[in-house]
Amino acid sequence: MKRPDSLYRRLLIWLLVPLVGLGALMLVQAYLDARHTADRAFDRLLEAATLAIADRVQWQDDQLWLDLPPAALEMLATDAEERVFYALYDGDGRFITGNARLPGDTRPDRVHDSVHESARGDTLLYRDIEWHSLTLRQGIRRSRLEDWSLQERFEVRVAHTREGREALTLSLLRTNLAYIGVMAALAIAALLLAVRSALAPLTRLRRAIRARDPRTLTPLELTLPRELAELRETLNDLLARMRRVRANQERFIGDASHQLRTPLAGLSTRAELALRQDDPAAWRSALEAMQATSDSTARLAGQLLSLTRLDNPEATPDLAPLDLNALARRACRDAWASCDRANIDLGVEAEDTPLMIDGVAWQLEEALSNLIDNARRYGAHCITVRVTDGPPTLAVEDDGPGIAKHQRLLVLRPFYRGRDGGEGSGLGLAIVDGIARSHKARLTLEPMANDRGLSVAIHFTGDR
């Protein structure tokens, strides 16, 4: 099972991994430094030993002569009991004396390097060599005999094993390690504290949210760091929107109950009046009136239901490809009979080729029938259902009185009747708006030419 991601862990990892990498780099650096320091210290021994030997080189019996000072060799062996090797070579590289035939160094004389040049003008060379499966540090001194008439070149080569150097390297490294270790421990401790304290406001926020009454929508009042304050503001915005939505819902429920109660009260009154009479003809007319009222009430209830369904943000309709042209023709066919009875001219302007969009057919049919119905109710004589492409648009145009500009947004609210005199429920446009929103389409209300009439259009600009 994968453990859920945690900010704490994420922060720690992102801070610790570079820290550990840095620590490793510091260790390597410390080791190299220590080794270098140890080599520098011990190379002084090589220098001193070669000097002590070179001082005792003479010219005797027509050859180079060395009265080897034992102290020179003892210098090379510290407490670490290094193995010690030495050799004297003449200028032509011939072995004169020594306990090992140490290899030469091909590097040239460093004449101008003041660091590597002693007062005598000797050249000193140091390097690590592998010799007879021993790891040695070798020091070479190139020097010359300065005599009255003689300038004989010679080379003193000494070498010893690295135990002393390694011991010094280790002890230097141990000191450094202690420092690095303490620093690492402090850094990690500080890191843990820092991450913990940085995340503390988050915990406070969580507690504050958890402690709230689920029904209250009042804003959060909490002092938080900037990053979290933004989150708090966003939360408060959401809460404000929820407050508005709830107010809308309360008003809607109020309106809906009012709307339903009025026809029901009418029905009740009508029935009461009819019961007081004995005339069957009066009964009949009452029953007819009651049937019409209950029809419209049923229609109102149906509209309320579909509006509620459309307003539910969690109900995502399954969009399917459909042909707008065919849909427009079908809607006209369905509405033609009622329009014809009211002597209204209903027409379709659509291409023959299919215009495909993703949508929910029954919702769009409902929207069209609502729009046609609306136009019919509010005194249009000519209604045109128009389908155009680019972007795909479904429009219903009428030549009725139109809607004043300041009312065009208000009419989208439920139970708002912009044009008095009609017997509509005031829900039609609200439903169309809901359908347009659920299709991510844009709804526009425009007057026709001459500021007369109304064109309600659904532009399918969204994802096709």
Partner: protein, 417 residues
């Protein structure tokens, strides 16, 4: 490489009787080595002696093989080997007694060494073997607690403690008093050099590796050593090659005073002869030690480590102290024959030859020639003529030859005997 080289010049019977092993001088020239071999092979006795203890497997331990090459006479080492065999009956032990030179040459010549342990008194050579990486590391509680001055890198262990002494006859004490220090010896020689002409004997550093290495050490200790050499020369001191030869002359009454004898060999002789007295000089006394080394390629390293651990152990060292004249190093041991005993009596005067790279300098060919030249110059300083025909004058016939080719002269002398 020049150092102590062991060479049998005595008859076997003599060596066994006196328990003396001499050091001899080294030369690396192989031609010379062939010459030495020839000389050795013409001697009536074999240079090599072998002592063998056959072991048998015990219920707990399988049979082990062990070969020890030592420059240590069999009578000296026998008690030690017997005790080891008694404690480790499952080890078949072969001890081969070789001269220091043979021991070194044999080891270096062999492709796979036959020896599991090398014991030699030729400290510079043993040191050089270890320095060149021929030694195996021995760890363990015994090796770790072994005195630091008596070991090197856990590869080389000094197991004996043998002071360099003076031996004099009673006649000397009666006539001039016995010198108890180098200073007193110098005074004696300066005041009574004429009377002692030919009656003083010491090592010939040109012919004896041991004598040479003592000369190196003494010259390092004090420049006054050269005065002593000059005084020895003015007294026409006889130069011998071995402690055994010096002891023989002292026993016979030929010499009255012997300077720089190996104490471990002199002790038994002096104990047996009431006319002889042994003095460990009070101002300083060199101490030489036998060094033990396990070769890297030893065929039986387990047994070798067992043996060296035995040598380092308290019971092994007690055998050394009580049943040989070699002297025990173990810090826990007290009483006669131990380093502690000598130290408590002589204190700071004891100068053990240090296990340090200075030993390598001893082996330097040019160094050797330079020191011998100086030694001979000092020795002849007060002599009227270099080729004096006085009896007992032991100077080589040709000084230059003795300086540069000492072994050849030495060989010729011994072959002539």
């Amino acid at each position: 490489m020049n150092g102590m080289l062991g060479r049998t010049r005595h008859r076997e019977a003599e060596r066994l009787a006196t328990g003396v092993r001499e050091w001899a001088r080294p030369r690396v020239f192989s031609a010379l080595w062939v010459a030495i071999c020839l000389v050795v092979s013409t001697l009536p006795v074999q240079a090599e002696q072998t002592l063998r203890f056959s072991g048998s497997a015990t219920p707990t331990e399988p049979l082990e093989q062990l070969t020890v090459h030592g420059a240590l006479d069999i009578p000296q080492i026998r008690p030690l080997l017997e005790d080891f065999h008694h404690r480790h009956p499952f080890v078949t032990l072969t001890y081969r007694n070789l001269t220091t030179l043979e021991l070194n040459q044999r080891f270096l010549a062999a492709e796979t060494p036959s020896a599991d342990v090398l014991i030699s008194s030729a400290m510079p050579w043993q040191y050089r073997l270890a320095n060149d990486g021929h030694g195996q590391t021995l760890n363990g509680p015994l090796a770790d607690t072994w005195p630091e001055w008596a070991r090197w890198r856990h590869e080389l262990f000094a197991v004996t403690f043998e002071p360099i002494v003076m031996v004099y006859r009673q006649e000397l004490e009666e006539d001039f008093g016995a010198p108890q220090s180098h200073d007193a010896l110098l005074n004696l020689l300066e005041q009574h050099g004429d009377a002692l002409r030919g009656r003083v004997v010491t090592y010939d550093p040109a012919k004896s590796g041991a004598g040479y290495s003592y000369a190196v050490e003494e010259a390092r200790l004090s420049p006054r050593y050269w005065e002593l050499v000059a005084a020895l020369g003015s007294a026409d001191a006889v130069l011998e090659e071995t402690t055994g030869a010096m002891l023989k002359g002292l026993e016979e009454g030929k010499y009255w005073l012997g300077y720089n004898l190996l104490g471990s060999y002199a002790r038994d002789v002096v104990d047996a002869d009431p006319a002889l007295k042994m003095v460990i000089p009070k101002d300083y006394a060199l101490v030489t030690q036998r060094l033990v080394l396990i070769p890297t390629r030893a065929p039986h390293p387990t047994a070798a480590k067992r043996f060296v651990n035995y040598l380092l152990s308290e019971h092994g060292q007690r055998v050394l102290a009580e049943r040989t004249a070699l002297g025990a190093v173990h810090p826990a041991l007290e009483g006669p024959g131990t380093a502690n005993d000598l130290k408590s009596r002589l204190g700071e005067a004891l100068r053990p030859i240090r296990l340090s790279p200075a030993l390598l300098a001893t082996l330097d060919d040019l160094k050797r020639r330079a020191l011998l030249t100086r030694w001979q110059r000092e020795f002849r300083r007060w002599q009227p003529s270099p080729s004096s025909g006085k009896p007992g004058a032991a100077l080589p016939t040709s000084q230059t030859t003795s300086a540069s080719r000492p072994d050849m002269t030495g060989e010729n002398t011994s072959a002539a005997r």
